[in-house]
């Protein structure tokens, strides 16, 4: 019966646990979702893929009852859901992409927050045992129930959220980019939990940008594009290229540029000696040449991200010797970093990268207003020209310059964030997760622009937890473990497995954690 609704769908054999039919959401003229259907069998792990704006988030929110569908129906375990009402968490529970953890509450309270079946009188003692069990099963046996959630690391918070999903004993669990903030080793743990839940009969929807994870974990994959259903197939019947093609509607060809030649005669663009940041980074030294793209990698807590933030002047607790083009600089504030020709692009564009409510042009020139102001008054003409120049550098439609950044997709917003930093004509560009939450097409454009700027002499240092991105973009890779540098090598000398090993074990003697989810170090179709 469902086959007709969605061409390109492999039929579900067993009695379906979740049946969502013809879900639609139009916001005025914006068609977020049109006539989308999906079925889940019990114990099925189902991937949901699509570019940003394809409708995945809307779909998830409709299933959770956070958004009301204009049409269609949803049935879970025989229960017909009332659209627009908060879905009973025992039927569908969501593990959100942005963590729904309240830092001032205890871990126990966080897990019980929003649960059904709780009487008004709140006796915590009756829940302690079962919550403890769930925490243990996600690998958090070292975390105390009454500890304030503020003490947890980001990864631990994500795992607590998953534990919450488990404790709800939901029939269907929706995981929205659950691994986006996790390091690769923690992802292995999450996969174990997912498989255990599957064995218990829970059905899961796994929304992800990361195709290698999709292929490692899921039974079937559904692709959305432009708010519409494109295909649903057994994961084993698909290749990465086919999924990508379904997501963006065309073939994608990665081109790898040659790494730049090093100039031995010039002082390195960036020279770091014995950099120490409180108890996060210890005694780190490295050089970056002009035109070089360096990836700083490490697990969360390793200090890798802190290194990049420190270079941006965001950390006060730093003692260092840092030179840019041979000149020593102070890194105690954002202002001093900017003055030294260092530009920084933060990892969370909505919160830190762009002014969503301001026009794109204003955003782009925000850091360089001094250049266009005379006696404190802004000179519009020169400013507009500069904004146009930078916009075209990043393939942003110049006609959209007066529009607010919020009208753009995630990928284009990130481009604005980048353009803003590049406007400073920096000598060194620092990026923190340069393409998080950015769709494949925009990602490629950003990489190519970064490459071009590096070819023109810009030095780039970026922090990323996306192994593919590191392998794609970097000339050199610096691996950090427990605050110390463990490896600093040209990219072509490293493969994915080695990189992962460095991140997990830190030194060659430690036992190599078996990484089962990677089929091959690099995707064949990326070459």
């Amino acid at each position: 019966m469902l086959q007709d609704a969605n061409p390109g769908t492999e039929p579900v054999a067993a009695q379906s646990l979740l049946c969502a039919r013809n879900l639609t959401k139009h916001y005025g003229g914006v068609k977020a979702l049109t006539g989308v259907s999906l079925e889940l069998a019990p114990g099925e792990i189902h991937a949901l893929c699509g570019e940003n704006g394809a409708g995945k988030s809307t779909f998830i929110k409709i299933l959770g009852g956070l958004v009301q569908s204009d049409d269609g129906e949803i049935t879970v375990d025989g229960h017909h859901l009332k659209l627009g009402n908060r879905t009973d968490p025992r039927l569908i529970s969501i593990v959100h992409q942005e963590l729904a953890i309240v830092p001032t509450l205890s871990v126990l309270d966080n897990i019980l927050l929003g649960g059904a079946d709780q009487s008004e009188i709140y006796r915590r003692s009756q829940y302690r045992d079962s919550v403890r069990e769930h925490l243990d099963s996600v690998g958090l046996s070292h975390v105390k129930l009454d500890a304030p959630a503020s003490r947890l690391s980001l990864a631990e918070c994500q795992l607590v959220e998953i534990a919450r999903g488990m404790s709800r004993q939901a029939k269907v669990l929706l995981l929205d980019e659950p691994t986006a903030t996790l390091s690769d080793a923690e992802i292995v743990r999450v996969f174990d939990v997912a498989r255990r839940l599957r064995d218990q009969g829970t059905a899961m929807i796994f929304v992800s940008h990361r195709l290698d994870e999709v292929f490692a974990l899921t039974d079937r994959v559904t692709v959305f594009r432009n708010g519409q259903h494109v295909l649903t197939q057994r994961t084993s019947n698909m290749t990465t290229a086919e999924v990508i093609k379904a997501m963006i509607g065309r073939e994608l060809v990665h081109s790898r540029a040659k790494p730049p030649e090093r100039r031995a005669d010039l002082a390195p663009r960036l020279s770091v000696s014995n950099l120490t940041v409180a108890d996060k980074v210890e005694d780190l030294s490295a050089d970056v040449a002009a035109g070089e793209i360096l990836a700083v990698v490490g697990q969360l807590g390793s200090g890798a991200e802190v290194l990049v933030e420190a270079l941006a002047g965001l950390r006060g607790d730093i003692s260092n010797s840092v030179k840019v083009d041979g000149q020593a600089i102070k890194l105690d504030s954002i202002r001093s970093s900017l003055k030294a020709g260092i530009a920084y692009v933060a990892e969370d564009r909505a919160d830190k990268g762009v002014f969503l409510d301001a026009p794109i042009a204003i955003n782009i020139t925000a850091s360089v207003m001094a250049k266009f102001s005379k006696a404190g008054i802004m000179r519009r003409a020169g400013e507009q020209e500069e904004a146009r120049r930078l916009a075209s550098m990043f393939a942003i439609d110049p006609k959209r310059l007066p529009h607010e950044v919020s009208t753009l997709s995630g990928g284009n917003q990130q481009k604005v964030s980048l353009a803003k930093a590049v406007a400073l004509a920096p000598r060194l560009l620092l990026l923190n997760e340069p393409t998080r939450g950015v769709d494949i097409g925009a990602r490629a454009e950003i990489y190519s622009t970064l490459r071009k700027m590096a070819d023109d002499g810009l030095a780039i240092v970026f922090y990323s937890t996306d192994l593919e991105e590191i392998l794609e973009l970097a000339d050199t890779v610096l691996t950090v473990f427990r605050g110390r540098m463990v490896r600093h090598k040209p990219r072509f000398e490293i493969d994915g497995d080695t990189l992962l090993h460095d991140i997990v074990a830190g030194d060659s003697d430690a036992s190599h954690g078996h990484v089962s989810f990677r089929n091959q170090p690099a995707q064949v179709d990326n070459a």
Binding site: V102, T104, S119, Y122, R151, G301
Partner: protein
């Protein structure tokens, strides 16, 4: 270090609670007399109940600027309509306070307006209502027996009014700690977005928070008017300042999600002891006002610094402090 900051706060409070009476006791005759301690607890009776209500909205991540206006109008209502039965007057007043609370909360989650804005609006509106009810006069309440009853000496230093306030503290404390709504109130203040996404009943929690605030403020204002046997449109104009100070001194973070009624009680005591002591040292009401203003300023600065240390939840996650490097 979040924990250590809270402990430091607590230590400071205890030092003040013990230290101030000692200092005042040495500087003033008869400081520890029954009469004076009674006076302190009488002040506690009114300030405490207002601060308690305000603090519940603060814990929920909001701020009820209209508490003073609610108590003023409640006092007028009690005196004006409680002619035959004081109990009825109080009842009308509390119902009024609850209704205002519901109205204050109604605009919040649905329309995404900050309570600082809505309560400014209701504060203005209620001030006008107060002037209208008072009709430009000071209203007086005929039944002085009620006034005597409310303020008569119990166990030397208390009175029925201060007992009522203490009882409110106990009830609210139990409510916040041992009900799911209480937990949801803390969640709404700790991280509003997370609370909504996780399915906590934020709307209901906020409504209950403002209802408590409105109801308690009204109760306090009504009881005060009965006790003074008068009501006017300008009573209790400084109470907002003092209630905010008491709450923040008592450990309620302006950002929300942190604090407890016990802490607020300590904060209220600190403030009443301070003002009482200053008065005994012949400070004028203006000087006391100045001191209160300065105290609030200091306390807000400390909260701001604390806030910078604790940082917003999003900031903290972005900094990704690991509990242990893996």
């Amino acid at each position: 270090m979040h924990q250590s900051q809270r402990l430091l706060n607590l230590a400071i409070r205890i030092v003040l609670l013990v230290g101030m009476p000692v200092i005042f006791g040495l500087s003033v005759n008869h400081y520890f007399s029954q009469a004076n301690l009674y006076a302190i607890f009488q002040a506690f009776a009114f300030l405490g109940i207002i601060a308690l209500g305000l603090s519940v909205t603060m814990v929920a991540g909001e701020f009820d600027l209209s508490v003073a206006a609610i108590s003023t109008v409640a006092g007028l209502i009690t005196v004006k309509f409680g002619g035959d039965s004081a109990l009825l007057g109080i009842l009308y007043a509390v119902v009024f306070g609850v209704v205002v609370g519901v109205a204050n909360a109604a605009l919040l989650p649905r329309l995404g307006v900050s309570s600082l804005v809505t309560t400014v609006g209701s504060m203005m509106f209620l001030t006008g209502v107060g002037y209208w009810l008072a009709g430009g006069r000071v209203l007086s309440y005929g039944n002085l027996d009620v006034s005597d009853f409310l303020d008569h000496n119990v166990a030397g230093i208390f009175s029925p009014r201060s007992f009522i306030t203490i009882a409110c503290f106990v009830v609210i404390s139990l409510f916040l700690r041992f009900t799911t709504l209480g937990r949801d109130i803390y969640a709404s203040g700790g991280h509003r977005k997370a609370a909504i996404q996780s399915g906590a009943r934020v709307g209901k929690a906020l409504t209950v928070g403002f209802v408590i605030s409105g109801g308690l403020s009204a109760l306090g204002g009504g009881l005060l008017s009965l006790s003074l046997a008068t009501a006017s449109a300008t009573m209790g104009s400084n109470i907002l300042l003092q209630a905010a100070s008491a709450a923040i001194v008592g450990g309620i973070a302006l950002g929300g999600g942190i604090g407890s009624p016990l802490g607020v009680a300590m904060g209220v005591l600190i403030l009443t002891i301070l003002n009482n002591g200053l008065g005994l040292l012949s400070a004028t009401s203006t000087q006391i006002l100045l001191v209160n203003g300065l105290l609030l300023l200091i306390v807000v600065l400390l909260d701001g610094r604390l806030g910078a240390v604790l940082a917003s939840p999003l900031d903290r996650f972005a900094r990704r402090k690991a509990s242990a490097p893996v």
